[in-house]
């Protein structure tokens, strides 16, 4: 049981970085960006190609993945702000283009990292006294570091302007801010984080697969929404924290569905149904509790 929760937490943090990226576009910029289904794989592809063909340091591959993701986001931003393509379609176009580009980067649809030194291997060796929680410690540390850097960034003047771009574009234009550049920057930052997450997930999983990005937007949104309903706050620090909580809840739900689904008569083919049901329960609990409290209060 313990080890399974540790694994779920590892995945919650690793995918949590992608969820933070989705949070930036959906909640901050209010831009429904579908690029992420492609840029997640781009990060995984860059990292695994650099690891297998050039033996690049695992930590450096994360930076390369982040950079590649930023470029992908900028392309979407360019399509939208300069060519006037609607937000949804700009993201879809980037996502489709990235499918081919990702295959080019990888050279084949699936790359195994079994026989190369990945981040997990380096961490396990360097932090061997920590044993089973070494990888969790590093993933949690990295994700929380990113969270706090983002929080600090969103409190700067530039960060506030970015938030205002999504909240009240007319107002911020009147302030003399170029919202087009703001959107491009936000999309770049978001996709950079998503690609970084993809690079982490690939090294954690021991392989990169061109199909692994499908649903990044769905799980990312699930994390944002689940987290947002569990922790209701307008403070940026709490909002980013809620995204990570949402991501953890989602990954624990997948683990529980796998581990205990059979106890209530579910079979292998019901995995996605059970996962979603667990997320629904997590979503409903706060509402039910609130209603009960109100009832008790009115009595």
């Amino acid at each position: 049981m313990g080890s399974i929760l540790i694994h779920a937490a590892e995945q919650g943090f690793a995918y949590g970085i992608a969820a933070l990226g989705v949070f930036i576009t959906f909640r901050i910029l209010r831009f429904p960006d579908l690029t992420v289904d492609g840029s997640f794989v781009t990060g995984a592809a860059i990292a695994s190609s650099l690891l297998t063909s050039m033996g690049v340091d695992p930590f450096l591959t994360l930076a390369a993945a982040f950079g590649a993701g930023c470029i992908a986001g900028m392309v979407t931003g360019f399509l939208h702000t300069r060519l006037g393509i609607t937000d949804l379609l700009a993201g879809v176009l980037s996502m489709i283009m990235l499918y081919s580009i990702n295959l080019r980067i990888m050279g084949k649809p699936s790359i195994s990292l079994l026989r190369v030194a990945t981040l997990s291997d380096v961490v396990e060796r360097a932090l061997s006294p920590l044993g089973a929680v070494a990888i969790l410690a590093v993933l949690a540390g990295m994700t929380l570091l990113i969270k706090f850097v983002l929080d600090a960034f969103f409190r700067t003047e530039f960060g506030l302007a970015l938030r205002a771009t999504g909240d009240n574009e007319a107002m911020i234009v009147a302030q003399g801010v170029n919202t087009k550049s703001m959107k491009v920057f936000g999309l770049a930052l978001s996709n950079g984080l998503v690609a970084l997450s993809g690079a982490l997930v690939a090294q954690y999983s021991g392989f990169a697969d061109v199909g692994m990005g499908v649903g990044t937007i769905v799980t990312g949104l699930a994390a944002v929404i689940v987290g947002g309903s569990l922790i209701r706050s307008r403070r940026i620090g709490w909002m980013t924290a809620s995204v990570l909580v949402g991501s953890l809840v989602y990954r624990v739900a997948v683990m529980f569905a796998l581990r205990y689904g059979y106890l209530i008569g579910f079979q292998a083919s019901d995995l996605k149904l059970v996962t979603s049901l667990i997320v629904i329960v997590a979503l409903v609990i706060p509402t039910v509790r609130e209603r009960l409290m109100r009832k008790v209060g009115s009595c």
Binding site: S112, S205, G206, G215, R259, A268
Partner: protein, 334 residues
């Protein structure tokens, strides 16, 4: 050698104890990437092989079945769940599941037996398919089809066939590899390959249509994306009035003129046989990768008549099964 015999004897003893039900049932985790007729048959074959060898489900052996439901991100959690449930052995059906199982069980000593993996060496699952000594805890069955043999069959069908159209998804490891093999083999047979890409099953019709008039025959390998939209390829082949060979014998009744390939149930039996070898004391690094042989040839006479094609007698003689008058006929004694 003496040691080897002793090892086998000890293994047999352990197996005998297990079969006798003195120990707790062995836990075997079987996972697949997606629900798919071929992969489901594979899973059944594995279980049937063990049952036939005397491992009774619920008494001697307990199966934990899992499916990633088409999402590679579920592969790692499934393998970790198997680990938490303390499985003795993992059977991983398809490349992504095998990669995930190999990663999670690396260095644990728990054997990982893969099945329905086309190229285990290129996928990085094993170092050497012939010499297993350095392959660690991983071995299994490859479903690498005889692509050159399939192309030769098309040539045998009619000497006028020169351009072969392949619809495939470059995102599927197995399919990309087979298409590359076809491209490498074609010139030697005096053939050329024309490729059309479909990244999702929704894009298969357009890809197939793009080949009409540009090819003398259609060929589809074990590509899950294309197989799920196979009607579109059949329609395109009929429109172009050209034969269509499909490397999946179970698809014959849907309308390709020719179907070749392996029975995935039999492949499951082969994987089950490897599992049995391990349960009776062999180590995975003593078992080379098994390549399934004996591809079957199935002919669809109805579809052939539709495009005015007659099969040469040499092909009919070798066919395992035919589809005629709306029904399947299997060669007796097969």
């Amino acid at each position: 050698m003496k040691r080897g015999i002793a090892g086998v004897l000890v293994g047999l003893l352990i197996a005998a104890v297990a079969v006798a039900g003195l120990g707790a049932p062995i836990r075997i985790g079987i996972c697949k990437i997606v629900e798919h007729p071929a992969l489901d048959a594979n899973e059944r074959g594995i279980i049937d092989a063990l049952t036939a060898a005397g491992y009774i489900e619920g008494k001697d052996v307990e199966y934990i079945l899992a499916s990633a439901q088409g999402d590679p991100n579920n592969a790692i959690p499934i393998a970790q769940d198997f680990q938490a449930k303390g499985v003795t052995l993992v059977v991983a059906i398809s490349t992504p599941m095998a990669l995930a199982a190999a990663e999670v069980f690396e260095g644990t000593g728990v054997p990982v037996v893969f099945s329905a993996v086309t190229d285990p060496v290129a996928a990085g699952l094993v170092l050497d398919d012939d010499d297993p000594s350095q392959n660690g805890n991983v071995t299994g069955v490859s479903d690498l089809i005889d692509v050159a043999g399939d192309l030769a069959l098309l040539k045998e069908l009619s000497s006028s066939i020169r351009r072969i159209g392949i619809v495939y998804n470059p995102g599927e490891a197995n399919s990309a590899r087979l298409t590359a093999i076809a491209e490498a083999a074609a010139p030697g047979l005096g053939l050329s390959i024309v490729k059309a890409i479909a990244d999702t099953s929704a894009n298969v019709p357009a890809a197939a249509q793009s080949l009409v008039g540009r090819v003398d025959a259609f060929y589809v390998t074990t590509d899950n994306t294309v197989v799920s939209a196979i009607d579109a390829v059949i329609a395109a082949a009929e429109e172009g009035n050209v034969p269509f060979l499909m490397a999946d014998p179970t698809s014959l009744r849907f309308g390709p003129v020719l179907a070749t390939g392996f029975d995935y149930y039999k492949q499951g039996l082969l994987a089950g046989d490897i599992v049995l070898q391990i349960l009776t004391g062999k180590k995975p690094n003593q078992i080379p990768v098994v390549y399934q042989t004996g591809a079957e040839i199935h002919l669809n006479l109805d579809a052939a008549a539709h495009i005015g094609l007659e099969f040469p007698a040499s092909l009919i003689d070798r066919a395992t099964g035919i589809f005629f008058g709306g029904a399947s006929w299997l060669r007796s004694g097969d």
